[in-house]
């Protein structure tokens, strides 16, 4: 009877069709030059990429990752096929130590002088040998002023009994220790085992007050009032701030930290020349200004600030005031102190 045969045939045909589709959809050997980028999704707006493609004729593919850790693991396993990757500052150190990214030839980036002084001499990558900074922000706190009437200025609020059950810390070892170390008066980059131990104690003491650890949807939680106070990266919360004026982002008095997302060229990049062209393109002031306007994140290109619309240029969450920034530093890779941090974090997470 026809229907029964038809069904097995249908399955086989569908599979064959599917395989054919897949073959067609495979990236064909491009006659145009190609550039492969592995980046944070919303930090490289499609418009910027399209403009570059139009200008140079180089075909750009952008794939996205969700965390620096995934990026490192992916590159470490080898043969990723990417020319440019988009690591955060501490990830640059790790990638450099593991030899996964090449040293940049600054002579190939004409616009390299456009990078502001602050970012020319960075502690995590002296001389910008292994990465080119692209955008930056801060790690601080966000709170909902509906919930917390007095302005919050310090990490101490995260240990305040008043807000029990309404506080979230970032679910990230380095981020949590920024708060714990700074609230105890230490540097966020401490490698002193005693200081780290004290910070661990603070985190364990804090745990019963927390609603939880969250690095995913904490912006939504503070915007909806579910959380009153969250540890936060500046970029993540800017967008909810536009919608909900009750959400405030603050770089705490103890300093907070700065983060930088930059671009590095991978070892064995298939098309390093195109990569250099792209890096140079990103450093043009008009392009940098466009990036900031589209992503609401500050650019490392000083001259671009003048080209910004006033509501962006005056946004203190995007551009914190100078005095606040003076105390902030970059979070670095923990290096030899790693073991102390990891042991401490495991204890904190396992604490009841």
């Amino acid at each position: 009877m026809k229907p029964r045969h038809a069904n097995i045939r249908t399955v086989l045909t569908a599979s064959a069709f599917g395989i054919a589709l897949a073959a067609l959809a495979l990236p064909t050997a491009a006659s145009a030059e190609a550039l492969h980028i592995y980046a944070w999704a919303d930090e490289l707006p499609d418009e910027i990429v399209q403009d570059f493609q139009k200008e140079t004729g180089i075909e750009v593919t952008v794939d996205t990752f969700d965390s620096n850790e995934s990026l490192i693991a992916k590159l470490e396993a080898g043969a990723s096929g990417y020319d440019l990757v988009n690591p955060s500052q501490y990830a640059v150190q790790i990638l450099a130590k593991k030899g996964l990214v090449t040293e940049l030839d600054h002579s190939k980036i004409a616009n390299i002088g456009n990078i502001s002084e602050v970012f020319q001499k960075v502690s995590y990558d002296p001389g910008n040998k292994h990465s080119m900074p692209y955008i930056w922000g801060t790690t601080g706190l966000a709170y909902n002023s509906d919930c917390i009437k007095e302005p919050v200025k310090s990490w101490k609020a995260f240990w305040d009994e008043k807000y029990k059950g309404r506080i979230y810390m970032l679910d990230n070892m380095l981020a949590a220790y920024i708060a714990a170390l700074q609230v105890n008066g230490y540097s966020a980059n401490s490698s002193n085992p005693d200081e780290i131990a004290k910070a661990t104690e603070s985190l364990i003491k804090q745990k019963p007050l927390l609603a939880g650890y969250n690095s995913t949807n904490f912006a939504d939680l503070v915007a909806s009032g579910e959380a009153c106070l969250v540890e936060s990266w500046s970029g993540s919360v800017i967008n909810v701030m536009k919608e909900n004026p009750h959400v405030q982002y603050v770089v705490p008095d103890e300093g907070g930290t700065m983060w930088v997302d930059g671009y590095s060229i991978t070892k064995n990049a298939p098309n390093a020349e195109a990569a250099y062209k792209f890096l140079n393109y990103l450093l043009q002031p008009d392009v940098a200004a466009k990036v900031t306007t589209l992503t609401s994140i500050a650019s490392v290109v000083e001259k671009s600030k003048a080209l910004l619309p006033p509501e962006v240029a005056n946004n203190t969450a995007i551009f914190p005031p100078e005095d606040k920034l003076a105390k902030a530093d970059f979070i670095l890779d923990t290096g030899d102190a790693t073991k102390h941090y990891q042991d401490g974090w495991t204890k904190v997470k396992a604490a009841q």
Partner: protein, 286 residues
């Protein structure tokens, strides 16, 4: 070619694709992981070839015990809820739904075609302090102030149930569906009431489905990490979180491999028992 050697060829041909797939993509990589569990690490997360039991020794420390225990507890509770709820649903689709059965099955999967992160947003809307459920409770006077739902163990259970219910329904349905209705008629003719007919004919015949459901739910439940974090607040970590943390955040490949091997051992015992029972049931059938 003799009949039996032809039979053997056919068997081989049928088993070849999956066996090869498993051997190449699963067994060999797994051996690599087992090997890594005995290795050493450098401070940058690389693996230094060595043979040491340090990682396993590390796991014996008291800080790890609650993690394993909580995982087993969470997985067990979730499995029980899933199977208890999945069985009547699968029964309904197989025996009562008629032509609507395939539609119901597909409908059950529809929520999973929307990305997981957005589904979590829906739960925040529903379970949040200012969320829909709290709003309704207060509107109907059932609560004076918002009930805390997000960040509780209950929220995690609800989230896991949501995630694993289809995994439990599908195998039970697959086992119930081919059951010959005439067997049930025969039972009725012999004087069994509907409950007895169910208990003595349907239930035993559906046992392979129940076992598959348990496997589909219990083991993966021990490996989940997103739901306990996003709905439970992330204050209690379970094996899934631990492994992701070790592999990615801590880049401690040997320790991560060791935890994986322990998980493998724990689950394998369960799976072996299940498979044995499955074989016995199947043999009694044939």
């Amino acid at each position: 070619m003799t009949r039996s050697s032809r039979q053997r060829m056919i068997t081989l041909a049928m088993l070849a694709p999956s066996t090869v797939l498993m051997l190449v993509f699963m067994v060999v990589p797994m051996l690599i992981v087992v090997g890594y569990s005995f290795a050493d690490r450098d401070s940058y997360g690389g693996v230094v070839p060595a043979f040491t039991l340090a990682s396993y020794g590390e796991l014996l420390q008291p800080v790890y015990f609650p993690i394993f225990y909580n995982s087993l507890k969470l997985a067990a509770i979730n499995t029980i809820w899933c199977v208890l709820i999945a069985y009547p649903v699968a029964y309904f689709i197989a025996f009562r739904a008629g032509r609507a059965a395939p539609v119901l099955l597909v409908l059950m999967l529809v929520p999973f075609w929307i990305n997981f992160l957005i589904r979590v947003s829906a739960w925040v809307v529903l379970l949040g302090r200012n969320g829909l459920i709290n709003a309704s409770l207060q509107a109907f006077g059932l609560a004076d102030e918002p009930v805390r739902m997000l960040g509780t163990y209950g929220a995690v259970q609800v989230g896991l149930l949501y995630a694993f219910l289809p995994s439990a329904v599908f195998p039970i349905y697959a086992a119930l569906q081919p059951i010959n209705r005439s067997l049930l008629e025969a039972a009725r003719d012999l004087g069994a009431g509907p409950t007895e007919a169910f208990a003595r004919v349907t239930l035993p015949l559906s046992l392979p489905g129940i076992m598959a459901a348990i496997l589909f739910v219990f083991v993966p439940s021990m490996g989940v990490f997103a739901i306990p974090v996003l709905l439970g607040g992330g204050k209690d970590i379970i094996i899934g979180n631990l492994i992701v943390q070790l592999f990615l955040e801590f880049r401690n490949i040997p320790l991560g491999s060791a935890v994986s091997v322990v998980l493998l051992a724990l689950s394998s015992v369960g799976i072996l028992l299940c498979m044995r029972a499955l074989r016995r049931v199947e043999m009694n059938r044939v």
